[in-house]
């Protein structure tokens, strides 16, 4: 669900077909559109875009009603037995919102979602999971409204198809079986994106499929290094290693560390984030080197701080740019004029800049926005600098794939023409800005002057002659900064830290990203390894490249065994306890299993979900902004005027922030949207094809690929095409409240009309690979994001580009 792996991650799909052929696996594909993935599936069922929670909520109900969940697993490894406080209420009791909702701020007071505690501060539990306020019973109550008739009416999926899928997938609750899910942007790009994934995570926990061979919830990430760029946190809210960006109210390093270091009173919880200060101080040491001292809070105030509650994410950034608040802008290896939701707004926003720096292999719609459709260059002030970068074979470094493998890429040739590797461009700009501050002074120069930057031999002016990416990789891994003895072992100053377990909070270690500690050690560059032994036979390849954390290939693998350390499925063990230690994959901590062979609790044990403060996985997830259990809400733009879930009067996600839900807008407002309107009666979704990639910047300029897929198209079902007089190959105008594009019609029965709440609803689909800049004359078409709305998920603010409303017309 939420992915078309056969076309968008083709080589991953090879392993799916192999599982079918060699292990008799069953492949289910749930998607609004019949694709090449569907063509290989044992079961294909359609659903309307934006109804995934209803679909999966029905599966949760099916699993619970028929008691198909893995009871031991759920009891041992999840918070299903935890008891909620009496203030907690479900949406069915409050007309569609959970307890704690404030309609004025569109947000929740999450203290209403707290667990009940005993006199020692420990969470109250009922291991029989029968208490009416325990998580499992509340889950049952919540999803009791997701009966098969309701789900079918919302999703448009026929009832027999729903049951077929539920039955097969729920069969993996048998400990000897496993089921997995491959999802992609089909799940994230919704106003309920996070909760789409949460719903599946709940199912996987109920069925005991997390931490197992053949289990998990797999994000098929779209860019070669989007995992790595996320790990290194080119994002407003996090610092490398998923540390939080500092907030204004946290005026000292101590306050910052105290705020983000979780505490627990639960027995046997490793609560791994208790090490937070070791990672934050090691990061500051990597940023500011010797200038970061205990006396100056390791340079904590040289990191910028956001105001409390401030959101500086993509949609907010472009909104501020649109309103003239952002003056300078870097578009580095990215094409927001096509990839940003509501691209017309993005393109207009770029007109309000003083300057923009773009770094890319190719010219694109962002760099050349000022000469795009509808633009008058003589009226646009923005200065634009285009810096040509080297391609991936013209430099050396690592990238991290969807499975968290960091893999080293070697340099094949020198940069072509007058291009430079990105690292050199960063160094040039770093050096020149530094020199300006050294020479002229300026506002708050300290963070710039004190930044450590030792990535190669320097010339007489102090400029690095050539950037050595190995030195950066080593800085990311981390060094011992003085001789230290840890757990009786001496580590010499200047040597590389072998694992994050050795990082310290006193300034004696550095590490640019604690998760990557162990990737480049005294033993060498672990990311460059090419040894192919696979003793488990599971395809872990533990000596090929390197996987964070600590080369653990399957996360939460301690949940793959019972309380004695015996694999749930002895035929496919990820790890097992041999009486003295774990064998197999690198375990989530070396602590012994829960029980001794005689059935007594082993006092040295720790719970399996080591990153969770309470040591267990969250079926009840009190960390989300929009509810502890997923609830179906309609997309911002949908064909329905109401939420069809019983007893819910909130049509859209009630926690959507203001920017994502503006109301009573004039037609001229760039954020305009319409719901259930006759003007825009059809659902539209966006997707990709095998031959192109993202905005197409890196594929439209590849002649072979452009020849294979030369222009944009819109898929229209036969009935709708007939109604509209559209034939295969006709030029069609697709129009939303915000923009319009032209595409060639592909009339197909791969898309079928849906019956939603008794009424026929049509859905169309188009790609977002094209742009006016290339191929010349815009003959490939323009980006589908000209149509998509300025709204997104309340937790992530990922835009809702997978479900919105349009009209279509033959040209």
């Amino acid at each position: 669900m939420g992915s078309n792996a056969a076309e968008n991650h083709p080589i991953s799909f090879r392993w799916v077909t192999k599982a079918k052929e060699e292990r008799n696996a069953t492949l289910i594909h749930v998607d609004p559109r019949y694709t090449r993935t569907s063509s290989q599936a044992d079961i294909y069922v359609p659903l309307r875009s934006g109804s995934d929670i209803a679909f999966l909520g029905g599966m949760i109900k099916y699993i619970l009603d028929n008691e198909l969940y893995h009871k031991e697993y759920v009891k041992l490894y999840t918070n299903a037995p935890f008891i909620l406080n009496e203030k907690f209420k479900l949406p069915e009791e409050l007309g569609g919102v959970f307890a704690g909702y404030n309609p004025k701020t569109h947000s929740y007071d999450r203290s209403y979602w707290a667990f009940e505690k005993d006199e020692n501060g420990k969470i109250k539990k009922d291991l029989t999971m029968k208490h009416p306020r325990c998580v499992l019973q509340l889950l049952k109550k919540h999803y009791s409204r997701y009966d098969i008739d309701t789900v079918s009416a919302i999703t448009g999926t026929p009832k027999e198809d729903l049951l077929k899928v539920y039955k097969i997938f729920a069969s993996t609750g048998n400990p000897k079986k496993a089921g997995t899910i491959m999802y992609a942007m089909g799940w994230t790009q919704h106003t309920v994106g996070t909760q789409n994934i949460r719903t599946m995570a709940i199912i996987q926990l109920l069925l005991g499929n997390i931490g197992r061979a053949g289990g998990g919830v797999n994000a098929l990430r779209g860019e070669s290094n989007v995992q790595g760029s996320t790990d290194h946190c080119l994002l407003f809210h996090i610092l490398p290693g998923y540390l939080k960006t500092p907030r204004a109210s946290l005026q000292s390093l101590k306050e910052y560390n105290d705020k983000y270091t979780p505490k627990t009173k639960e027995d046997y919880s490793a609560n791994w984030w208790q090490n937070y200060p070791k990672y934050s101080v090691s990061l500051l040491k990597a940023h500011f080197g010797e200038k970061a001292t205990k006396e100056n809070d390791f340079g904590y105030h040289w990191l910028p701080k956001l105001d409390d509650g401030q959101n500086a994410s993509w949609l907010v950034m472009f909104d501020n740019m649109y309103h003239g608040k952002i003056k300078g802008f870097f578009a580095w290896g990215q094409n927001p004029a096509c990839s940003g939701a509501n691209s017309n707004k993005v393109r207009k926003a770029l007109c309000n800049l003083d300057w923009m720096v773009t770094v890319n292999l190719f010219d694109n719609e962002t760099a050349s926005f000022w000469r795009g459709p509808g633009m008058d260059p003589t009226k646009i002030k923005t200065e634009v600098f285009f810096l040509p970068c080297a391609s991936f074979v013209e430099k050396e470094g690592s990238i991290t794939n969807s499975g968290r493998w960091a893999q080293w890429r070697y340099k094949a040739i020198d940069p072509i023409g007058d291009t430079k590797p990105d690292a050199e461009i960063i160094n040039e700009l770093y050096y020149r800005v530094l020199k300006l501050y050294e020479k002229e002074g300026g506002v708050c120069p300290e963070p710039i002057l004190n930044l450590s930057w030792d990535y190669g031999e320097k010339d007489k002016n102090g400029k690095i002659k050539e950037m050595d990416t190995h030195l950066i990789a080593k800085e990311i891994n981390g060094y011992f900064l003085k001789d230290v003895v840890i757990k009786g072992k001496l580590f010499k100053k200047g040597t590389l830290v072998p694992s994050f377990a050795y990082l310290q909070d006193d300034g004696s270690t550095s590490s640019g990203n604690w998760l990557y500690c162990g990737s480049y050690t005294e033993k060498g560059n672990m990311m460059a390894r090419r040894k192919k032994d696979d003793p488990t036979g599971l395809g872990l390849y533990s000596h090929w490249a390197w996987c964070w954390p600590v080369n653990r290939r399957i996360l939460y693998n301690r949940a793959s065994v019972d309380e004695y350390g015996r694999p749930w499925n002895p035929e496919l063990p990820v790890i097992k306890w041999n009486g003295h230690k774990w064998v197999g994959d690198v375990p989530d901590g070396g602590w012994p299993p829960i029980k001794n062979p005689d059935g007594t609790i082993n006092k040295k044990t720790k719970k399996a979900f080591i990153m969770k403060p309470h040591g267990v996985a969250s079926i009840f997830g009190s960390g989300r902004k929009d509810g502890p259990f997923p609830e179906h809400y309609e997309p911002l733009e949908s064909p329905l005027k109401f939420n069809p879930i019983p007893k819910n009067k909130y049509r859209i996600n009630p926690a959507l922030p203001l920017l994502c839900r503006k109301e009573n807008l004039s037609q001229k407002d760039p954020d305009i949207w319409y719901n259930a309107s006759e003007t825009y009666p059809y659902i539209c979704t966006t997707y990709r094809v095998t031959e192109h990639w993202q905005t197409g910047c890196m594929t439209r300029h590849v002649p072979w690929l452009l020849e294979l897929m030369p222009q944009n198209f819109v898929e229209i079902n036969e009935e709708l095409a007939d109604q509209k007089g559209i034939k295969d190959g006709d030029k069609v105008l697709i129009e939303s409240a915000r923009g319009k594009i032209v595409a060639k019609a592909v009339v197909t029965n791969r898309l079928r009309p849906f019956i939603i709440m008794g009424k026929k609803v049509h859905q169309v689909g188009t790609t977002w690979h094209f742009g006016w800049e290339f191929p010349e004359g815009g003959k490939g078409g323009d980006s589908a994001n000209l149509l998509s709305p300025t709204t997104g998920d309340p937790n992530t603010l990922i835009p809702e580009t997978k479900a919105f409303m349009v009209n279509i017309k033959k040209l």
Binding site: K305, I326, G333, Q334, N401, G403, N427
Partner: protein, 186 residues
């Protein structure tokens, strides 16, 4: 590593086998041409720059040019296979449309102008300093130390190597940027 004599012989053998079978004569010629093309090449391993499956590549290069790219048969993920995008990275690297010189678009101008790196980098550094100094906030409305600028925004990039991502965020944050985003958000 260069292509070994053993590989070379293996390849010639395959080509000969092709010629002896029902394959047309032109295949034989093509195989010879291909063999000559790879002769003397340096082979480096890499990873595909498109999706995040992480398929291994073997990159054959000679005289500063990549002459051939194929799936790495030893790589456990793709075992030599590639999709259409991965199969065409040669054309990505040597695309005729690649920008090979810095360029500049002046305010109100209708065209790009080719410029030198030194000039462009100096100009950019000046703009950064100017905007930063003008918009820098040492404290917020509450008087709390924030040391940030909201006048500069940045996006990018999941196309960079890990090492580049790390130093890019390190540098941007040293300037006081809080608007730092990239593909992962969309």
């Amino acid at each position: 590593m260069g292509i070994s004599r053993r590989d070379f012989l293996k390849f010639s053998g395959l080509a000969a086998l092709g010629g002896a079978g029902a394959v047309s004569a032109s295949t034989d010629v093509e195989a010879m041409e291909f063999k000559n093309k790879l002769k003397g090449c340096k082979v480096t391993t890499s990873i595909c720059p498109y999706c995040a499956v992480g398929c291994g590549l073997k990159v054959y290069s000679k005289n500063g040019k990549v002459v051939h790219v194929e799936g790495d048969p030893d790589h456990p993920i793709n075992e030599g296979r590639l999709c259409p995008k991965g199969s065409s990275v040669l054309q990505l690297i040597h695309s005729p449309y690649r920008e090979l010189k810095p360029k500049y678009r002046a305010p109100y101008s209708s065209e790009w102008k080719e410029v030198e790196w030194d000039w462009a980098l100096d100009q950019i550094a000046k703009r950064i300093k100017q905007t930063r100094d003008k918009t820098f906030e040492k404290t917020n409305k509450k008087g709390q130390i924030v040391n940030r600028t909201q006048g500069i925004g940045a996006v990018g990039s999941a196309a960079l190597d890990n090492e580049e991502c790390f130093i890019l965020q390190k540098w941007w944050r040293s300037l006081g940027l809080i608007y730092i985003e990239h593909q992962a958000r969309i």
